[in-house]
């Protein structure tokens, strides 16, 4: 009796879900039901990759990151660019790295330069002007234009890329812009001054060398990447997307969010504002149209034996689809599910089995006390922000062959991720997983009834739905959950 009482809520929820599922799948064939469930879990995996980061960041730092959808989108674009035409990356990364190197001189500039307030504004403007000089006439459109992989047409390297000397000059301006900006923000860094000069210089020199190395190796590296077998290139692209998301996230936290930890409303305005900035940056660089990304050949081989009769056959055949109960299901979507599950397990292990995870779990409750134990909590915050953003970037690349890349993916996934964590409970990773499943399954089922209608017991004809209902269904689930448990399924009482 005790046990029944203790687990009353989960048991009740489970029964309710079973009844709902029985009604939903009433009169449906096993193959249709399986395909709906698999489609739902595919969506759930993608929603989870975005929502888990939002939840992780909110749990530890109480920051609701509206820009998370944008990080997902930016990761997708970065991975896609790396996969199809990495030229843009090799030509812009050196500039960004040298700018960052200049900015990281901050602890040293702060030691020698203490500008009055109006001079800091002036220095900020000067840095902006220098950055504009560095970027003036930078041939983004030519670099982005499709190279050899999509159309088979090769744009001669000399035409698309600027000569090394021009690029070196740009690098110099970028470094200068970074240094001037580091003087402009010097007042913010009083606490950093004690950091050792050697470490600072080491980082600055390291970044400079990395930037120049990328620049000098750009042709060799591009050839190497484009000649890499497409599956391995895709895995590399996933790493690039995750890395881009992580670096962007760390930068965002360090530069913009850190000064606002005591002002929650400002954080929301800031991250919301960033979504517009990211949207425009993506449109500016890659255009508003969006693009498809090819599915790597492990998941796109077509042949006589296809679709593969089962999962084991697929391992040798690499068919584009696998048959479940006689109906083919795209094998790439199984890869998406796999990615979602791997990340769920990975986050779980990180939180439960590592020292960092222990610190995160402690920090969720009381980050001041964690700091008083001698742990640099600000660094942990930056790291966790980077991890959350990296998950979003990874999700973006994983989603790209399935959904393509387009500017609208940011708001779409942000909205779904927010619905997911509200359902699951803010700050809870299991909650994010369960919420993602509910939302994903609802979306897939909604899409199904739009096409085929729904057959309720005792009715002779199916009722068909409209696409609007499919979209509204997730919000409806959220409303029901909030009505029964306002903190979400796994949420703790405030």
């Amino acid at each position: 009796m005790n046990i029944v009482n203790r687990y009353r809520n989960p048991i009740f929820t489970l029964l309710l879900l079973l009844i709902v599922a029985a009604l939903m799948f009433n009169g449906m064939s096993a193959s249709t039901a399986t395909s709906i469930v698999l489609s739902g879990v595919t969506l759930a995996a993608l929603y989870f990759l975005v929502a888990s980061g939002v939840s992780l960041i909110f749990g530890l730092m109480d920051v609701l990151n509206f820009a998370h959808g944008s990080l997902f989108m930016f990761g997708a674009y970065a991975g896609w660019t790396f996969y199809t035409n990495p030229r843009l990356i090799f030509n812009s990364a050196p500039l960004l790295l040298l700018f960052a190197a200049g900015l990281l001189l901050n602890p040293l500039t702060a030691r020698f330069v203490a500008l009055p307030r109006w001079m800091r504004w002036l220095a900020g403007l000067a840095a902006l002007a220098l950055a504009l000089v560095a970027a003036r006439g930078f041939p983004i459109d030519r670099l982005v234009a499709m190279g050899m992989t999509m159309t088979g047409k090769v744009i001669p390297t000399e035409l698309a890329q600027e000569p090394i000397e021009t690029m070196l000059l740009r690098c110099g301006w970028a470094l200068l812009a970074g240094i001037v900006l580091s003087a402009a923000v010097a007042a913010r860094s009083v606490e950093h001054i004690q950091e050792s000069a050697r470490r600072t210089l080491g980082m600055v020199i390291g970044l400079t060398i990395l930037g120049l190395a990328i620049l000098l190796a750009r042709n060799v590296a591009e050839q190497f990447i484009l000649q890499t077998e497409n599956n391995w290139r895709f895995l590399m692209a996933i790493a690039v997307g995750a890395g881009t998301g992580g670096i962007l996230g760390a930068l965002m936290e360090w530069s913009l969010i850190r000064p606002l930890y005591s002002r929650p409303i400002y954080q929301i305005l800031l991250t919301l504002g960033l979504t517009f900035v990211f949207d425009q940056v993506v449109r500016f660089i890659w255009g508003p149209a969006g693009a498809f990304m090819e599915i790597p050949s492990w998941f796109s081989t077509q042949g006589k034996e296809c679709p593969s009769p089962d999962l084991f056959a697929w391992f040798s055949q690499h068919c584009d689809s696998i048959a479940f109960f006689g109906r083919p299901f795209p094998s790439y979507r199984l890869f998406i599910i796999l990615a979602g599950v791997v990340m769920l397990v990975g986050i779980g292990l990180l939180l439960q089995r590592t020292r960092l995870g222990m610190i995160i779990r402690a920090g969720v409750q009381d980050s001041e006390m964690v700091e008083a134990l001698g742990i640099n909590v600000r660094r942990i915050f930056t790291l966790v922000f980077a991890i959350g953003a990296g998950l979003a970037g990874l999700g973006g690349v994983v989603a790209a062959p399935f959904l393509g890349v387009y500017p609208g993916m940011a708001p779409e996934f942000l909205l779904q991720a927010f619905i997911v964590i509200v359902i699951g409970g803010l700050g809870s990773i299991p909650g994010a997983a369960v919420g993602a499943l509910l939302v994903g399954l609802a979306r897939a089922y909604g899409d199904h009834i739009v096409l085929a209608g729904i057959q309720l017991p005792g009715m002779s004809e199916a009722i068909s739905g409209s696409p609007a209902i499919a979209r509204a269904s997730t919000v409806l689930i959220m409303a029901i959950v909030l009505f029964i448990k306002p903190t979400g399924i796994f949420g703790k009482k405030e």
Binding site: E191, R355, M358, R361, A362, Q365, E368, A372, G374, N376
Partner: protein, 234 residues
């Protein structure tokens, strides 16, 4: 005897409020020093100012001769200062073991000092795998102190350890703190004057954010008038 900690007329603000208006104190090495005063006198804020959670705007804080005012709390703590806050602030979702592990500054801190810690607080060893949130109030207080013992700390800042504990537990706790003081220096904030007077060798008296009187505890115990006036207890 040298002073391990010297606080020199610090001024600390919380928002617009001027909480500490010139607190000075010295903690001699190898003893227990009690920080006394009424509610709101600024005792807790003084500890938070030392560890850096409420950085003072003016004045000096020197630990083993080096200025630590203005440094970040993690940096100050890493010098060898343990902090046991008044609300205990144990991590409820972590197990007892994890609560101790998280305080490690070197990899084998807990392994090295575990025997000493569990000797002082045998209960913790029994409940080592239990989530700390399930411990009783007294056990949580012991865990909070034990956590400060895990790394090699040469100074402990302990805030109101007896708060909310039953008298029998207070006796146990006093015994533990007395044993501790053989290993490390302690700056103790305590409302319970009887407990403070039995433990501490020296005292500092705060009132309205200022340190107004200090000396050997022996002398204060006989100074009924001062006790009555500033501590409101007999």
């Amino acid at each position: 005897m040298s002073n391990i900690l010297e606080v020199d007329s610090i001024h600390t603000f919380i928002g617009q409020f001027h909480i500490l208006e010139g607190v000075s104190l010295s903690v001699p090495e190898g003893s227990i020093t009690a920080l006394l005063g009424r509610n709101g006198a600024g005792k807790t804020t003084t500890l938070k100012s030392i560890i850096g959670l409420r950085p003072p705007r003016e004045g000096h804080v020197r630990f083993e001769g080096a200025e630590i005012r203005g440094r970040r709390p993690y940096d100050i703590a890493a010098l060898g200062i343990g902090y046991v806050p008044e609300n205990r602030a144990i991590f409820r979702a972590l197990t007892v073991e994890e609560n101790l592990k998280i305080a490690e500054r070197k990899k084998n801190d807990l392994a090295q000092r575990g025997e000493m810690i569990f000797g002082l607080f045998p209960d913790l060893k029994r409940f080592i795998k239990l989530p700390a949130g399930q411990l009783s109030g007294g056990q949580q207080q012991m865990l909070a102190i034990a956590r400060a013992l895990v790394p090699e700390n040469r100074l402990l800042l302990i805030d109101e350890p007896s708060e909310g504990l039953a008298p029998i537990l207070i006796e146990q706790l006093m015994e533990s703190i007395r044993t501790l003081s053989a290993h490390t220096t302690i700056l103790l904030v305590e409302q319970n004057f009887r407990m403070a007077s039995q433990l501490a060798a020296y005292y500092y008296l705060l009132d309205d954010g200022k340190s107004i009187q200090h000396g050997a505890m022996k002398e204060l115990v006989n100074d009924r008038a001062t006790i009555q006036r500033y501590l409101g207890a007999a």
